[in-house]
C-alpha cells in the first residue's frame, strides 16, 4: 500500500494569453512512514506539486491518490474535509494563527475534526510537551522565537494524526542550528507516529535527513533516489 500515488500528473497555469505547463506527467509514490525530500530550483514545479498533493490545488490531468482516495476527483468541499482529516502542514513562514494562543493553534485541527473537550486538551498538551513548549502553551505566537513558532507548527501538523505531513521549506526561515532542531523534531515525530513526510526544500541537510530524495526539474521528476546529494 502507498500513502501517495501520483500517475502522469499535468498542471498548466494561464498567464494572460499564454498557458504555462508547470508539471509534465509527474508520477511518484510515497510509502507509509517514508520521509521524502522534494528538491529543485525555484520555478521547477515543487510548490505546484505540493499544492496538488495537499489538495489545495488540482491537477489538470493524471491521477492523485492519497491514502487510496483519488482527491483530484473530489469536490472542493470534499477535498477540504479530506485535508483537515488526513494532511498536516508545516509552512516556511510558520503561519500560526496570530489571534490564538500556542495551545489553541494546536487545538484547531483537532476541533476541525470534531475532537473537543478534555481529550483534545490532553492531546494538544501532550504534543506541545513533545515539542518542548508546554510551558508556553498560553503564550501568543508573536511572543515566540522563529524556532519556537515552527515547533508549534510541527505540533499543529501532527496533533490530529494525519496520514501525510507536508512541509514547505520547514527550515527556510530559521538559522541553521534552530533549523536542525526543528528538522530533527519533525523527522523524529513523524517516525515515532509512523506518518509519511514530504518536505519541499533547498537544503542539503534537510534532504539528507530524508529516506529518499525526489528531484524535480522543469516540471519533470529527474531522479528518485535514496538520499542522493542535492542542489
Amino acid at each position: 500500500m502507498t500513502i501517495v500515488s501520483l500517475r502522469d500528473v499535468h498542471k498548466w497555469y494561464d498567464e494572460g494569453s499564454t498557458r504555462r505547463h508547470v508539471l509534465h506527467g509527474v508520477s511518484m509514490q510515497i510509502a507509509p512512514g517514508e520521509r521524502v525530500a522534494l528538491v529543485g530550483k525555484s520555478g521547477s514545479g515543487k510548490s505546484s506539486l505540493l499544492n496538488i498533493i495537499s489538495g489545495i490545488d488540482y491537477a489538470d490531468a493524471g491521477m492523485v491518490e492519497i491514502g487510496g482516495q483519488d482527491i483530484n476527483a473530489m469536490s472542493e468541499v470534499a477535498r477540504t474535509q479530506f485535508r483537515r482529516a488526513h494532511i498536516g502542514f508545516v509552512f516556511q513562514f510558520f503561519n500560526l494563527v496570530p489571534t490564538l494562543t500556542v495551545i489553541e493553534n494546536v487545538l484547531l485541527p483537532l476541533e476541525l475534526n470534531g475532537i473537543v473537550g478534555a481529550v483534545a486538551q490532553q492531546r494538544a498538551a501532550s504534543m506541545l510537551d513533545r515539542v518542548g513548549l508546554l510551558a508556553r502553551a498560553h503564550t501568543a505566537p508573536d511572543r515566540l522565537s522563529g524556532g519556537e513558532q515552527q515547533r508549534v507548527a510541527v505540533a499543529r501538523a501532527l496533533v490530529h494524526d494525519p496520514l501525510l505531513v507536508l512541509a514547505d521549506e520547514p527550515t527556510g526561515n530559521l538559522d541553521s542550528d534552530t533549523g536542525d532542531q526543528v528538522l530533527r523534531l519533525l523527522t523524529q515525530l513523524t517516525a515515532d507516529t509512523g506518518r509519511s513526510l514530504l518536505m519541499v526544500t533547498h537544503s542539503r541537510e534537510v534532504a539528507a535527513s530524508a529516506d529518499r530524495v525526489v528531484r524535480i526539474q522543469a516540471g519533470q521528476l529527474r531522479t528518485d533516489t535514496a538520499t542522493e546529494p542535492v542542489i
Binding site: S47, N51, S54, I56, D57, E76, V77, T80, Q81, R83, R84, A85, I87, F89, F91, F93, N95, L96, V97, P98, T99, L100, E104, L107, L108, P109, E111, L112, N113, V116, P141, D142, R156
Partner: protein, 848 residues
C-alpha cells in the same frame, strides 16, 4: 460551530480595537443620519396631525369658508334651523411667546356651551382643573393651557402674561389648567391656548366670523341626508369637508421636502456603506494569510464565509444599535431645523419634542444591517472563493484587483450612462434618485482606473522632482489599489456631494437673487406680521392703504391680497394684486407671450407660477378652477411666470376681480413707490410713525430682499447639516482606511527604516501617499460633483419643486472641495504616520 475557530476570527477586531471602532462609527453614523431625519420628519408630521386631531376632536365633518371665514349666522342656521345640535363653532389663530419669540402658540377659541360632545378634554369643567365655565367667560382675556405650556411660559395659575398676536402685544390671564391622563393628548395640548370664542374673535380680528364649524353627523343614511341638507343650505364660499381631508392636504405639502431630506440622509448611508465595505475589505485583505492557512488545514469556504459574516455582523449590529441611539439624539438637534423650515415655507407647526415610533427605527436597522451585509458580501465572497494557494500570496489579490480595474471602469461608465438615461427618460422623483445613485456608484467604480492613470502620469515627475521617496508614495497608491481605491472612492463621493449641494444651493441663490431683483421693485413694503415667513397672508388693518397713499412722497401704492386657496389636492397661494403697465416687467415668463398675457389678465384670465404648472401639468390656454365665495369658477391661464417663493404654486389675478368673487376687502401687503428724491428708509420711518399702535412690518426694498435671502439660507440650513454629516462619515472612512492600510505595512516600513529611511522620510512617504489619494479624490469629484449638481438642478429639483434654476459656476466651491479632499486625506494620514515613524525597526521587522 467550533470554539477555537471562532476565537481565531472574533479576536481579530479585539486585537485591533481602533479599526473595529471606526467600522462601528461608520455604520452608526450612516444609520444615525437616516433615523434622525426620519424621526424629525415624522415628529413634525405627527405633531401637526396630533394637534389637528385634538383640536378637531370627535368631529366627523366640518364647514370651512373662504379667506374671511364663515359668518356667525351660518352657525345659527345649522344649529337652530336645521337642528344639528352636535355642532360647534371654532376660531383659530397663532401667537408667539414674548419670552421666547420662536415659540409658536396656537389660540383655539371655542363656545363652551357647544363643546362637550367634541373635545371633552378641552371642555372647561371637564378635565380642566381649577377653572370653571364662569371663570373662562367672566375673566377678561382668560385662557386655559397645559401645565407644561405654563411652565414653558413661566406662568402660574391666576397670573397674567403677554403674548404677541400679529405683532401686537396681547395680555392674557391663566385661569385654569388643561390636563389629560392620556400622554399623547397631553403632548397635543402643548403650546395650546384655549379661550372663549368671543375673546378669540377680538384677539384675532375676526369679530362676527368663524374659521370652522365642527359637526358630528351619524354614519347612517340619516347622517348622509343631513349632510346633503346642510350642503344645500350653505352660502357660496362655505364648503363641507372632513377633518382628515383637510389635514391630509396640508401634510401633503411637505412631501417633496421630506423626500429630499430622506434622499440626502440615504446619501450619508451610501457613504457609510462604502466605509463598511472598506473596513471589511481590509479585514479580509489583512487576513488573507490567515484565511490561507485555515483553508490549508481544512477549513471550508462556507466556514470562512460564515466566520467573516458573523464578525462583520457583530460590527453591523453594534454599529446599528449605537446608530439608533445616536439617531434619536441627532433627531433632537434636527427637529428644530425641520420645524423651522416647515414654518418658514409650508405651515405653522409647533414641535416641542420628538416622537420616536417603530418605523424609523425599523427602517434604520434594516438599512444599517442590509447595507452592512451587502458591503460584507463582496470581500467575504472573494475570500471564500479564492483557492488557498492564491490566498497565501498577498500579491495575488492586488494582481487580481489590477486585472479587474478596466472592467470595473467599463461597468462604472455604463452605470453612469444608465443613470443619465434614467434621469432623462423617467420624470419621477424616485427614478431620478435611482439615476443619481447609479451615477454615484458608477463614478466610484471608475475611480480605481482614473487612479491608475493619474499615478502613471505622476510617478516619473514625482521621482524626478521630489526624489525616490515621492516615487515610492506614488507607486504605493497603485500597488495597494485594493485598499486605496475604496478609500479614494468614498472620499470622492463625499467631496462630489459637497460640490453638488454647494453648486445647487449657489444656483438657487443666484436664481432667487435675480428673481427678487426683477420682482421686488417697490421702494417700501408693508405687511402684517405672520408666522409663515414666505407667505404674507395675515390681513392688514383697515385703512392702512388709503392712509399711506395720502402720505407726502408716495407716488403710488400696489395692493396685494394673499390667501391660501383650497383646491382638490394641496392648497395653493392665491395672490390678487394691482398690476399697472409699469409693473409688467416685474414678471419673468416661463410660458406665454406678454403681449397677449396682459390683455387676457385684465379681462378674465389668471397667471400661474411655474411650480403649479409643472405639478398640475397646466399650460397656457388651460383653465384652473378657483373655489370662490360665489362658487367654483374656471379661469383661463394666460401665462406662466417664474416664481421661487413657494413650491406649492401661485395663482394671480387682478385685485378687483378677487374682490368681486370673494367677500373679502382686506389686504395683506402693500408695495409703495416713492417719488424721486425721497429716501426709502425715511419713508419706512414715516410709515412707522404714522401707525404707532398698529403692528406692521415695514421694510425697505433692500431689507426685504435681504430678509428673503435669509429665509432661503435658513431653508438650506438642514441641507448643509446633512452635507456636513456625509463628509464626516467619509472622513471617518478614509481615516479608517488609511490607518488600517498603513499599519498593515509596518513590516515594510520597518525594512525601510532598517535600510536607512529616517522617521521624517517615513512621514513624507505616508503623508505623500495620503495626499495623493486626496488629490485623486478631488480631481474625480470635480466632474462627478458637477454632473450630480446638474442632476439636482435640472432634474430632481424640477421634479420635486418645479423650479427652473440657472446653473451657477462658483470657482470657490471647487477650490474648497479640492482643499477638503486633500486636507481630509492628509489629516487622516497623520496618526498612522506618527505611529509608523515612532515604531522601532527591529519590532516592525518582527511583525507578521
Amino acid at each position: 460551530m467550533m470554539r477555537v475557530l471562532w476565537k481565531s476570527t472574533l479576536r481579530w477586531p479585539l486585537q485591533r480595537p481602533w479599526q473595529a471602532l471606526l467600522a462601528i462609527v461608520g455604520v452608526a453614523m450612516g444609520v444615525a443620519v437616516v433615523i434622525a431625519i426620519d424621526i424629525a420628519n415624522e415628529s413634525a408630521r405627527r405633531a401637526f396631525l396630533l394637534s389637528t386631531s385634538t383640536i378637531t376632536g370627535r368631529a366627523t365633518d366640518e364647514l370651512v369658508g373662504g379667506p374671511q371665514g364663515i359668518p356667525e349666522a351660518v352657525f345659527r342656521q345649522i344649529r337652530v334651523d336645521l337642528g344639528v345640535r352636535e355642532s360647534a363653532p371654532v376660531v383659530q389663530g397663532y401667537a408667539t411667546s414674548v419670552v421666547t419669540p420662536t415659540r409658536t402658540l396656537q389660540i383655539l377659541g371655542i363656545d363652551p356651551f357647544s363643546e362637550a360632545p367634541f373635545r371633552p378634554e378641552l371642555t372647561p369643567g371637564g378635565s380642566a382643573v381649577g377653572s370653571t365655565l364662569a371663570q373662562l367667560i367672566q375673566t377678561p382675556n382668560a385662557v386655559l393651557m397645559s401645565q407644561h405650556t405654563a411652565d414653558a411660559l413661566g406662568v402660574a395659575l391666576g397670573q397674567s402674561f403677554v403674548v404677541s398676536i400679529a405683532g401686537r402685544t396681547q395680555p392674557m390671564t391663566l385661569v385654569g389648567m388643561l390636563t389629560t391622563a392620556d400622554s399623547t393628548t397631553q403632548q397635543a395640548l402643548d403650546d395650546l391656548l384655549l379661550t372663549d370664542i368671543a375673546v378669540a374673535q377680538v384677539w384675532l380680528g375676526k369679530v362676527g366670523m368663524l374659521d370652522r364649524i365642527d359637526l358630528i353627523l351619524p354614519d347612517t343614511a340619516v347622517g348622509a341626508a343631513l349632510r346633503q341638507q346642510i350642503t344645500a343650505t350653505l352660502p357660496a364660499g362655505v364648503r363641507i369637508t372632513t377633518p382628515a381631508q383637510r389635514a391630509q392636504s396640508i401634510t401633503e405639502m411637505t412631501a417633496s421636502f421630506e423626500i429630499n431630506l430622506n434622499a440626502l440622509s440615504l446619501l450619508a448611508l451610501v457613504v457609510g456603506m462604502f466605509l463598511i465595505y472598506n473596513t471589511m475589505t481590509f479585514a479580509v485583505v489583512q487576513r488573507r494569510p490567515l484565511i490561507g492557512t485555515l483553508r490549508c488545514i481544512g477549513v471550508t469556504r462556507a466556514e470562512i464565509a460564515r466566520l467573516m459574516m458573523v464578525e462583520g455582523g457583530v460590527i453591523a449590529v453594534v454599529g446599528t444599535v449605537v446608530g439608533v441611539g445616536l439617531g434619536i439624539g441627532l433627531a433632537q438637534l434636527l427637529i428644530g431645523l425641520v420645524a423651522r423650515t416647515i414654518n418658514d415655507i409650508y405651515f405653522a407647526v409647533t414641535v416641542s419634542s420628538i416622537t420616536v415610533t417603530g418605523w424609523p427605527l425599523i427602517k434604520g436597522v434594516v438599512l444599517g444591517m442590509g447595507a452592512s451585509v451587502v458591503a460584507l458580501a463582496i470581500p467575504t465572497w472573494e475570500a471564500a472563493r479564492t483557492p488557498p494557494r492564491t490566498v497565501l500570496r498577498r500579491s495575488s489579490y492586488e494582481e487580481q484587483t489590477v486585472r479587474v480595474v478596466p472592467w470595473l471602469g467599463a461597468i462604472g461608465m455604463g452605470l453612469m450612462v444608465l443613470g443619465g438615461i434614467i434621469m432623462w427618460l423617467i420624470p419621477a422623483i424616485y427614478a431620478s434618485y435611482a439615476g443619481l445613485l447609479a451615477l454615484t456608484l458608477g463614478a466610484a467604480m471608475i475611480t480605481p482606473l482614473v487612479t491608475v492613470w493619474l499615478m502613471r502620469l505622476v510617478r516619473p515627475l514625482a521621482t524626478r522632482w521630489f526624489g525616490l521617496v515621492a516615487g515610492m508614495a506614488v507607486r504605493d497608491v497603485v500597488t495597494s489599489l485594493s485598499r486605496t481605491a475604496v478609500a479614494i472612492a468614498a472620499l470622492m463621493i463625499a467631496v462630489a456631494v459637497t460640490i453638488a449641494v454647494g453648486v445647487m444651493v449657489a444656483s438657487f441663490r443666484v436664481t432667487v437673487v435675480d428673481w427678487l431683483t426683477t420682482t421686488i421693485r417697490a421702494d417700501v413694503f408693508v405687511s402684517a406680521p405672520t408666522i409663515t415667513a414666505n407667505r404674507l397672508i395675515s390681513p392688514l388693518p383697515d385703512g392702512v392703504d388709503t392712509t399711506i397713499a395720502r402720505l407726502p412722497g408716495v407716488e403710488r401704492i400696489r395692493r396685494y391680497r394673499s390667501i391660501m386657496l383650497p383646491t382638490d389636492s394641496t392648497p395653493v397661494l392665491q395672490i390678487s394684486l394691482d398690476v399697472a403697465p409699469a409693473d409688467h416687467d416685474t414678471f419673468l415668463w416661463a410660458a406665454g407671450n406678454p403681449a397677449q398675457i396682459w390683455p387676457a389678465f385684465y379681462r378674465d384670465a389668471i397667471i400661474i407660477s411655474e411650480p403649479l404648472a409643472l405639478r398640475r401639468q397646466l399650460q397656457v390656454g388651460d383653465t384652473f378652477t378657483i373655489q370662490t365665495d360665489r362658487g367654483d369658477v374656471a379661469m383661463p391661464i394666460a401665462g406662466i411666470f417664474y416664481d421661487y417663493g413657494t413650491e406649492l404654486g401661485v395663482v394671480m389675478m387682478p385685485i378687483e376681480r378677487y374682490q368681486s368673487y370673494f367677500a373679502d376687502q382686506q389686504l395683506s401687503s402693500l408695495g409703495i413707490y416713492v417719488t424721486e428724491g425721497v429716501d426709502s428708509e425715511q419713508m419706512v420711518e414715516t410709515i412707522r410713525t404714522q401707525f404707532p399702535d398698529v403692528a406692521l412690518v415695514v421694510r425697505s426694498n433692500q431689507t426685504l430682499r435681504t430678509a428673503s435671502v435669509a429665509i432661503l439660507d435658513r431653508t438650506f440650513a438642514i441641507t448643509n447639516v446633512l452635507q456636513l454629516l456625509a463628509t464626516i462619515v467619509a472622513f471617518v472612512g478614509i481615516f479608517a482606511a488609511l490607518t488600517a492600510m498603513q499599519l498593515e505595512r509596518v513590516r515594510e516600513f520597518g525594512m525601510l527604516r532598517a535600510i536607512g529611511l529616517d522617521p521624517r522620510q517615513l512621514w513624507q512617504l505616508v503623508l505623500g501617499e495620503t495626499s495623493l489619494m486626496g488629490v485623486v479624490a478631488g480631481i474625480v469629484a470635480i466632474p462627478i460633483g458637477t454632473a450630480m449638481a446638474a442632476a439636482l438642478i435640472y432634474v430632481i429639483n424640477r421634479i420635486s419643486f418645479g423650479w427652473t434654476l440657472q446653473f451657477a459656476w462658483v470657482p470657490d466651491i471647487y477650490g474648497r472641495a479640492m482643499l477638503t479632499a486633500i486636507v481630509a486625506a492628509v489629516l487622516a494620514g497623520i496618526i498612522p504616520a506618527w505611529r509608523i515613524a515612532r515604531i522601532a525597526p527591529a519590532r516592525a521587522l518582527r511583525e507578521e
